[in-house]
Amino acid sequence: MEERGIETSLAFKVSTITILTAITAVFTLAVRIPVAPTRGYINLGDVAIYFSALTFGPLTALIAGGLGTALADIIGGYAQYAPITFIAHGFQGFVIGLIVRGLLIRKKDEIAIDKGKRLDFIGLVLAFMSGTIVMAGVYLLAEAFMVGLGAALAELPGNIIQNVAGIAGGIPLTLAIRKAYPPILNFRW
């Protein structure tokens, strides 16, 4: 099937967001890495959000990132957090995608972090920092209102670690997928 022709259709956009939503939910639910000091886990939902934002842009990352993590919360038995998660992770993806699109992509078909040639390091750091601040900030505000400032502050380091894992995994994943499956570059709009 010729993939280039269909890419601008509404069905293609909805399909892309659907699959990315499922990927984000699976990364959040199933892909977990143990953290020895706390005997807890970090999930890789943020890796999927960074991948969506860097590859597909702000709106796709907003919907897929927000819906995927919120669905994971509902399936995982934490449905009470789903609306907060949707806002926190949705806007995290949106902000990263927006900054990456705005600062790093200057020509229409340029790729933000393609083999480091146009790697605008400061812009990328700004995008990641903004994403972290938005995600951790939304969780802090919402949880301070829901469970009090003390408990909300106690959860802050975990959210930041989660985000750092997203950055550490998101960039190599994006680059590796572009190399392993070049047609994905045509899936953007």
Partner: protein, 253 residues
């Protein structure tokens, strides 16, 4: 299992319950609401059913009880140990309020999902104005998630066969490896395979949607619908009675 009460009525009741637990009401009233909620769950599903949601929020409940009094020192002092550890009446009352709030919201949502079918939840959201595209995205994603989790397991197994040292005891005992950096690096090939496996399905899914007329603009019909007949009216009446029952204590006390 079919939904006990109409999903639309349950959605409104859930919203009311969440709103109630966010209001700064008298602690006795909040406790009363929470007690009624627990009794309803126990009557409908038995005592063991509350174990799972309770264990899910237990660490946060402990954090609330330990940390909230430190941040709120208003009111008279109840207990003090040194300069920093002081439990005051204001701090304790806030801690109890937050515990009731989180528990109340958690158990309200738990009861909602226990008594409502997933399809009905989506249809109810659609009835309240959720765009069809979003509900379609959620429905199809939910169908893809189990398949992708299975694929993830298979890819992991295949990678373990190729790289036996991934989970060897030597690696497990290396304390530096247990910090997530190296593990994350080791995961990348698995994640790449999983994402490529998933995104290859995008064109096929898009074609299937187009073949079913998605995006043509005509008004869509739906096989699954929430009825607006006698049951909906009776359930709505029950919803109004329950809402009045929830509001009366606030007005009276």
């Amino acid at each position: 299992m079919k939904s006990v009460i109409d999903a639309r009525v349950e959605l409104v009741l859930l919203f009311e319950m969440i709103l109630l637990f966010f209001m700064r009401l008298n602690l006795a009233i909040l406790g009363g609401y929470f007690g009624l909620l627990l009794i309803t769950i126990v009557i409908l599903y038995g005592f063991p059913s509350i174990k799972t949601p309770f264990l899910g929020i237990l660490p946060i409940l402990i954090l609330i009880l330990l940390l909230t009094p430190i941040f709120n020192r208003s009111g008279r002092m109840i207990f003090g140990l040194g300069r920093f550890l002081r439990v005051t009446s204001g701090g304790l009352s806030d801690a109890i309020r937050y515990v009731l709030r989180l528990s109340g919201i958690t158990f309200s949502v738990f009861l909602f999902y226990k008594t409502t079918e997933a399809n009905d939840v989506l249809l109810a959201f659609q009835w309240f104005g959720l765009p069809f595209r979003i509900s379609l995205t959620i429905t199809i994603s939910l169908q893809y998630i189990p398949g992708l989790i299975r694929a993830y397991g298979e890819i992991m197994d295949a990678h373990r066969l190729r790289v036996p040292s991934m989970e060897s005891s030597k690696r497990r005992n290396n304390i530096l490896d247990r910090f997530s950096g190296k593990r994350l690096k080791g995961m990348i090939p698995v994640l790449v395979a999983l994402v490529v496996y998933a995104v290859k399905r995008i064109p096929t899914l898009a074609m299937a949607l187009e073949m079913r007329g998605f995006g043509r603009g005509e008004r869509r019909t739906s096989l699954l619908k929430l009825e607006t007949g006698k049951k909906f009216l009776l359930d709505s009446l029950l919803g109004v009675i329950l809402s009045a029952f929830l509001i009366i204590p606030i007005v009276v006390f």
